[in-house]
Symmetry: C2
Subunit: 200 residues, 2 copies
């Protein structure tokens, strides 16, 4: 059996990662990576489904034991991707989907370069601006800051394997589906199959 | 505009390259690479469609001028893939399909590593044997020799980017379609697009 693929979906804020990932999970046979967090569960959130809710002590312990693929602090709460949870699924031949910001994706790439690193590109800077403005849950200043960060983040596309344009969700999902199929055809991911043929 | 892709379909005799390429040309927007040959046209063959029919002198001249992507001698006739014909289409953004034996594919890879090198795998050695036996236009001895060569050729799969299993023509064509779409999403093939976004 071949190992599963770790599919990392990343990109700047406002590029549409979240919507694309929801659609991918609906259409394809993928398993979502679940983060561990020290923040309190919100109403309706289920431990082991939305997050693994853990204490700060436990997080600290896991961090010291090098048990995260990546981790980050957001508003005094800690978030991390548990390595074992992801690696176990990959070993079982399951494909894992991981949605994450650019910093997190680059950390994962260092630990697991075998992943498939996909950068979601906004159709244009104009459209990116519109999308960020539409969210507008923040002050104008915060929004400008966020937009400026998104501009800068675009340049990180060159650290990824693939850049998928999010002009429509359907076309982005179709391209990612093709990327997954193609990656499974890569010779270096098919050692098992080829060995079988040789020995037949 | 992005450059076109050079899609090289290769693999052992009996793996089903020819059938797959015919179907790819029907279903996708691909341009077939046309070989130059010194052999006489057969009934119905059209110059510039089936082959470029050229004299031995002309072939020699092109060879000396390094105008072939690859070339081979088969039964005292010469065959070669004209570089200019292929490269012109790629520059125009057209995708080019090239069906070729393993030796030819590896020569092309040295000159043009940017190509997409796809190895067609028979579903099993058993099936490969059946297919070669079915052709049976040769003596039993020649057939055994051909089968033995096919076994040895399978190991060249490791020199390719992708290995596509030809269990059914439909699934092989679907996988190659995905490979083409995925290759177009590769970051290093999208410099143009990304530049546009940055400058927008």
């Amino acid at each position: 059996m071949s190992k599963g693929l770790l599919i990392v979906i990343s990109g700047p804020s406002g590029a549409g990662k979240g919507t694309i990932c929801k659609e991918l999970l609906k259409e394809l046979d993928l398993n979502l990576s679940i983060s561990a967090t020290t923040r309190e569960p919100r109403k309706g959130e289920v431990d082991g489904t939305n997050y693994f809710f853990i204490s700060k002590d436990k997080f600290q312990e896991m961090l010291l034991n090098n048990e995260f693929l990546e981790h980050a602090e957001v508003y005094s709460n800690y978030y991390g991707t548990p390595k074992e949870y992801v690696f176990d699924m990959l070993e079982e031949g399951k494909d894992v989907l991981l949605e994450i910001d650019i910093q997190g994706a680059l950390s994962i790439k260092e630990i697991y370069p075998d992943g498939v690193f996909i950068f979601i590109l906004p159709p244009s800077m104009e459209e990116l601006k519109n999308r960020i403005e539409k969210r507008a849950t923040e002050t104008k200043e915060a929004m400008i800051k966020r937009l400026d960060a998104a501009y800068k983040e675009l340049k990180y596309v060159f650290k990824y394997d693939y850049g998928v344009l999010n002009d429509t969700v359907d076309s982005a999902v179709d391209n990612i589906n093709s990327i997954i199929k193609a990656e499974k055809c890569k010779v270096n991911r098919q050692i098992h199959l080829i060995k079988n043929i040789e020995e037949a």
